[in-house]
Symmetry: C2
Subunit: 448 residues, 2 copies
């Protein structure tokens, strides 16, 4: 991952005013590789955004002695800050976090009447005459701990005040939805109560781009940002595009960030499609809606992926009429009216066929705009003339000339297909916005 080394960042400079945070995730399944630790990632992002400095992530299994041993380290590492522990709070006997924490802090476990009442009501509502004995374990709370209500599950979170040389400890369930609900609600409130003086979190702007590789983005953006102090820029490249994270902290952070965004605007205008929660399919639908377009798609090598992406957005039916998955040439001729001669003269992966597919699907479905994809996704089927990764796109708009474009994508079959869908979405979006840029500039979906 590229970063801008010339400017400062709260993480990079390790400013001590950011209280430390340690994450301890518990569960045998992490140690045998059954799943990646997505809780740790989510909490690291949340705590960083809340102006903590995550200094360590530690994972151990469900063994009580090993949890205690890890707690000793983690509690000390988080001294003056927080320790967030996830997992091992469930009802079964291999959930040992409560016991380990109680022993680590030398506290008795006591049944909490309020928790017991909530649990009993919860099970009653689910048709149980009484609380199953095993689930009663969930109501056991280390003496002095604060109970943090769980709005979406059984096991509540718990908070323990720091001991000398230690951290404020939060225990959260390992079920991601429950962990997130308790953290976003009560834990964030408690952090504000106990760490009121931590620095303002960085002002952050996420910009999502597609069609331009990270290396070229970096080169162009760094040039724009010269002379603007204290704005950090990180790049997160993926097959679908590069996400940019601009951030600034401290005095006049918002102003500096705004200045930076203004400076990069001319470069980004052509490639950006939205912010953190944006998807290119969503942005494309929005642009089509604004232009009053209804879309029809014809897909060969992507086999339905473009349609699937577009219809993944709730409410897409006002724009998307549907399409034809013309995988076999027979479907191209019979359902889309692509002339046999075009296929035999030029091959299925060609400008004339892409154009005929786009026009055919537009007319058959009575749409304003038809878009098509036909290519060699591999691993077989490539030739010297048309190597694997070669994809032709067609775009036919009522009242305008049908057009086609070609791209050659790197990667395996899946990546080539994903890049092709991204390219088609971006082309449609640019057309709907009335930008000529895409046509002139094309797009490089190869590296990011």
């Amino acid at each position: 991952m590229a970063t801008r080394p010339t400017v400062t960042d709260p993480m990079a400079t390790r400013v001590d005013r950011h209280p430390p945070a340690v994450l301890l995730t518990i569960g045998d399944e992490l140690l045998v590789g059954d799943r990646a630790d997505t809780n740790a990632r989510w909490l690291a992002e949340g705590l960083t955004a809340a102006s903590f400095r995550v200094v360590e992530i530690l994972s151990v299994g469900d063994d009580e002695a090993e949890i205690r041993e890890a707690l000793t380290r983690a509690d000390a590492r988080g001294s003056g800050g927080v320790l967030v522990v996830t997992g091992g709070l469930g009802p079964t006997l291999d959930d040992r976090t409560r016991e380990a924490v109680a022993k680590h802090r030398d506290l008795d476990l006591e049944e909490d009447p309020a928790v017991l009442e909530i649990l009993t009501a919860r099970f009653l509502a689910r048709g149980y005459p009484e609380l199953p004995p095993l689930n009663r374990r969930i109501a056991r709370v280390p003496r002095g701990a604060r109970v943090l209500p769980n709005p979406v599950g059984s096991a509540p979170g718990l908070e323990l005040p720091p001991q000398p040389g230690g951290a404020r400890v939060f225990l959260l369930p390992g079920v991601p939805a429950e962990m997130k609900a308790i953290f976003s609600g009560t834990v964030m409130e408690r952090l504000d109560v106990h760490f009121p003086d931590r620095p303002a979190p960085p002002v952050v702007e996420i910009v999502r781009t597609t069609g331009i590789p990270e290396s070229r983005l970096a080169q162009e953006l760094e040039a724009c940002l010269e002379g603007i102090p204290g704005v950090n820029l990180r790049y997160r490249p993926a097959v679908e595009g590069v996400e940019l994270r601009f951030s600034a902290v401290g005095l006049a952070a918002s102003e500096r960030l705004a200045m930076a965004l203004d400076a990069v605007d001319p470069v980004l205008a052509r490639w950006r499609y939205g912010g953190r929660e944006s998807t290119l399919e969503g942005a494309t639908l929005k642009a089509c809606r604004k232009a009053g377009w209804q879309l029809a798609v014809a897909e060969s090598c992507t086999g339905g992926m473009l349609g699937a992406r577009l219809t993944s957005v709730p409410g897409s039916s006002d724009v998307v009429l549907g399409g034809v998955m013309a995988y076999h040439n027979r479907v191209k001729t019979e359902l889309l009216g692509v002339p046999d001669e075009l296929l035999s003269d030029h091959g299925a992966v060609s400008a004339p066929v892409a154009e005929a597919m786009a026009s055919g699907v537009r007319r058959r479905l009575g749409a304003q705009v038809g878009v098509s994809i036909t290519g060699v996704a591999g691993p077989g089927g490539g030739s010297e003339h048309r190597p694997v990764g070669t994809v032709w796109f067609g775009l036919d708009r009522a009242g305008a000339d049908v057009r086609s474009r070609q791209a050659v994508f790197p990667g395996n079959r899946d990546e080539i297909r994903r890049r092709a869908v991204q390219y088609a979405l971006q082309w449609v979006r640019q057309e709907a916005l009335g930008h000529g840029g895409f046509r002139r500039e094309g797009g490089d979906f190869g590296q990011g």
Copy 2:
């Protein structure tokens, strides 16, 4: 995750003959939540399969002092076993792992002539007249370390023998492809040299199922497995189905595993579709190929996902002709020939429409089998009569009666659509195999 508590497992019983393994992953991006730690997961799985017992996973940032501090702990925790460190071996100045390890073990860093030669040749081949000075850092090796060649990148891995009370240390680059290549090659060989007496790894069989929830699977399988000693079973539930991992270790492990698989066969026959590398789309295509079928698909609420899944498999074109993405009702009538009355009398999400879609696409494309999906994926569009999650499927086979089935799936829009695709694939596969089971039993894609 449910586990079989009645039987033993190398991890669960913590048999001491399995040498301990500790993972230390290094990189600021892990601590700010930029990415999940997929290297740790992959290594945990690989080391577990190689009969090590992973006892701890630790992640710290790129700070040299913090890496050293973490090394002190991790080296001791892995005493008698291994410590695998990933990340921080690159050429840039914020890659500090080499320096931290050298200081931790009190070793000098020396430029290794053989590494330098390989690096220089590598850069020469890429058109550089000489090795860039920054990249020269990669050739610095702690005295006494063994160099582990990197077949796919610049930075080699390094191996340090254990010091008293410590672990054998392997340093690997953080780039996943490079880490995996060095681990699977040289590191595995070195582990066999230095840990020759570790127990044989468990004999493992992965079985992938779909259409039956974890709870029901567990109930039925546990009953079959009673009386078969020493076979461990773990469940990995996902939206697409439940993956089962049967394992046995020690004396006659293969025989016991075979006995267990025989015992569960009657239950699994209906739901299994393959092993670790299998996909349901792959298994479905295989079954269709064997039956001599060509397929056509008609998708409404899934908008192309079924076609995309089927065509994700290289060489799918001998089975998949294509299909129609009939998102709007107009497409259902015009391209698939669904009568208007059916739509107005029964609604688009109904048995008659599902059947007409399947027949329509089969006939239009000249396929042996047509399959259709039409449903309410939500979040809007539900009613008391047809709640969100209601999906109808149609299946039309040349020379047989067209049939339909209904299911109601839980989850959000994405999960409902994914479950619907899974259901359709499983139905087609069962039909192609000639199983009546699916028709009689239906399938419950709700919980897993």
